[in-house]
């Protein structure tokens, strides 16, 4: 077992990516994810890889496209406004069936917004990462350990399914330090990059005059051919949905209130749930998706069947709640949505209050649904 180390989430992610075989990092500074670029600048050359501070987010993401086309593990990272700029390349990467890692350490929007933690890019990550019909894998870490673990997982899944993977974190996860076990260093060496046997059969590595040329392309002018390629991709997505949904549940088997949230918010609510479960009267459980796409819809529905009420706290205005409601639409259970925005993060006391408040509402009216903007109930 490797030694337990203390690292910032951003740095743990970067180190884990290198250990996962990432050999190209292209980035552009933006708070609160710049530690990833700084770490890569220092450590990527030692790993025999390449670091480029690009002229823009647009260019950085397109450099990833180029490196990924050669079968190399490549990544970029940014925060919300920068991710919008990367959406062009993301669409091309998905359309070219290329694996790549994109990290979004979310800050508050819209526009330039603020730099404090947010989850306001949920729709963008899971619904509209770029133009056209496509999906990307979306992994949502909730600890520094998962920042590292998911960097490895993201590359594994991206290469397995030949599609881009996004790690959707937020400023809290990027900036905080926690102890973690780093993933083992792989046996791969930089020399493996030129090892023909190790190269995927789709990678552009030069024909060496031994095979016919390969084309990586997203232009398909024939509508029938384009439709066929989209159908093929979505058939693959169905497999991904069936096989790759990941989630965690903590709490009693049949909680009164099922709290559904992801990322750093789940940490705050975990504390509130622990506190409330030590008291008498209300039993709460925490369902935390680790993958946002594919969304663990069936698993959530199974868990929600035994609860009385669902509470969805998020650092956005109901974006994540959409998926919770879709997943539990057939039950149905009353849903309370607790929004924070602008970089405001609930305190454990606020979480506890919300939990008790929504339960009090249920005791009065078992059908009532609530929406909270901060402390204000609409």
């Amino acid at each position: 077992m490797e030694e337990r180390v203390l690292m910032k989430g951003n740095e743990a992610l970067a180190e884990a990516a290198i250990r996962a075989g990432c050999r190209c990092y292209f980035g552009y500074p933006i708070t609160p994810q710049t530690e990833i670029a700084a770490y890569m600048a220092r450590h990527m050359p030692k790993a025999g890889g390449s670091f480029v501070q690009a002229e823009s987010e647009v260019a950085a993401a397109n450099m990833v496209l180029g490196a990924a086309a050669t079968g190399t593990r490549a990544m970029t990272s940014s925060s919300s406004p920068g991710i919008s700029l990367k959406s062009e390349a993301l669409s091309y990467i998905a359309a070219s069936d290329l694996p790549a890692l994109i990290v979004n350490v979310m800050r508050a929007g819209p526009g330039l917004g603020g730099i404090q933690p947010s989850q306001g890019d949920y729709w963008q990550a899971t619904r509209a990462a770029g133009h056209g019909d496509f999906h990307q894998l979306v992994l949502a870490p909730a600890s520094v350990q998962e920042m590292a673990d998911f960097a490895v997982l993201a590359f594994t899944l991206a290469f397995k399914w030949r599609m881009p993977a996004m790690i959707l974190a937020d400023g809290t996860l990027g900036q905080m330090m926690e102890p973690l076990y780093l993933p083992k260093r792989p046996d791969r060496t930089p020399a493996d990059r030129t090892n023909q046997a190790a190269e995927p059969d789709w990678a552009l590595t030069g024909t060496l005059n031994r095979r016919s040329h390969r084309i990586i392309n997203s232009l398909v002018l024939n509508p029938a051919a384009l439709e066929a390629s989209v159908f093929e991709r979505f058939a693959r997505y169905r497999q991904v949905q069936a096989q790759e949904a990941r989630w965690r549940y903590e709490g009693p088997e049949d909680p009164d209130v099922l709290v559904v949230c992801y990322g750093s918010v789940s940490r705050i609510y975990k504390q509130a749930i622990q506190a409330v479960n030590q008291e008498q009267g209300l039993r709460a459980g925490l369902f935390r998706p680790q993958t946002l796409w594919p969304f663990p819809a069936a698993e959530l529905a199974a868990k929600a069947k035994h609860c009385k009420k669902i509470l969805v706290p998020e650092l956005s205005m109901g974006q994540f709640c959409d998926d919770v409601k879709l997943a539990t639409a057939k039950l149905p259970k009353p849903v309370a949505l607790a929004c924070r925005a602008g970089g405001q993060v609930p305190t454990p006391a606020e979480a506890l209050q919300r939990l008790k408040q929504t339960w009090a509402c249920w005791l009065q009216d078992q059908e009532q649904e609530e929406v909270y903007y901060g402390d204000r109930q609409l």
Binding site: A59, L65, R193, H213, I215, I216
Partner: protein, 285 residues
């Protein structure tokens, strides 16, 4: 006994070009392919096709090809070259792609001195979308989006890419040639070859601007288009060599590019001497 003197280069596939009659893409593709053959680079080369008429270059070149988003070819090429420093990369970009939407990418690839070769097709118009103003459209030139001719007061001035990039320290080789007459072919080919040699020798960024035709959107015959390049475009975009570090290094004994890595490619032949292009050029019908 008959000898074969004109064959399809191996770096080109046996596929008919989709380009319009009189368009110079075909000539330029062929010249690049001949140079790839002669330098034995094809097997180690990954090309980057851009957005524009030449987007389907991936169907024609025998090397591996990736197609880049509009303007991003230099960034995609950077990614490839950084991932595979043991391979060669060239981009093939039009004027809208390189000098409008991709301005940032080309300037920064150049200033980083990326070991890539850029073929920049300047035909003063957006061809694939049907003839709109390009950043290189000449003053007074009529296009779909400058129906009364390009008026600099409203539509800005033509961009001189070679002159712009020549102000940077990064590039190793920058030259402009004109594909406007058969008597230019040797000059054009020698320039293309030298730009590829830059990469073979790890000298860094090389760009060749090729003044090219678009008879369809210029609404001219092939001959008229050639003449227009010669008489109009050359006025705005003088041909010549703007940066040649190979030559400087030969004179000073210096060599190598910043951040260059050793390649396993074939050894480079002698660099072709190329300075200013002949001034006494006459156009013949």
């Amino acid at each position: 006994m008959a000898t074969v003197s004109y064959e399809r280069p191996e770096a080109l596939l046996d596929v008919p070009f989709h380009y319009c009659p009189g368009c110079t893409h075909g000539i330029t593709h062929r010249l690049i392919a001949e140079c790839l053959d002669e330098l034995q680079m094809t097997g180690q080369t990954i090309a980057v096709a851009s957005v524009g008429c030449s987007v389907m270059a991936y169907d024609y070149f025998a090397c591996d090809v990736v197609q880049a988003p509009h303007g991003r070819a230099p960034a995609v090429a950077t990614g490839i070259r950084r991932a595979r420093p043991d391979r060669f990369v060239f981009t093939y970009q039009g004027d809208g792609d390189l000098a409008a939407i991709g301005t940032a990418e080309i300037i920064h690839a150049a200033t980083r001195g990326e070991n890539i070769t850029v073929f920049f097709i300047n035909n003063a118009i957006y061809g694939m979308t049907g003839g709109q103003m390009a950043p290189t459209t000449l003053e007074g030139q009529v296009t779909q989006t400058t129906p009364w001719g390009r008026n600099p007061a409203e539509a800005g001035n033509p961009i001189k890419v070679c002159e712009l990039l020549a102000t940077l320290d990064g590039p190793a080789f920058i030259a402009r040639v004109a594909v406007d007459h058969a008597n230019q072919i040797h000059q054009v080919k020698a320039t293309i070859k030298k730009a590829l040699q830059c990469q073979l020798e790890e000298r860094g960024f090389a760009l060749v601007e090729l003044l090219s035709t678009c008879p369809t959107n210029w609404k001219m015959s092939a001959t008229e288009a050639m003449r227009w390049v010669h008489e109009q475009m050359r006025q705005q975009y003088p041909v010549g060599v703007f940066v040649d570090r190979l030559r400087e290094d030969q004179n000073s004994g210096r060599g190598g590019s910043a951040g260059g890595r050793h390649l396993s490619g074939p050894s480079a032949p002698e660099a072709v001497g190329l300075t200013a292009l002949p001034a006494g050029y006459t156009h013949k019908e």
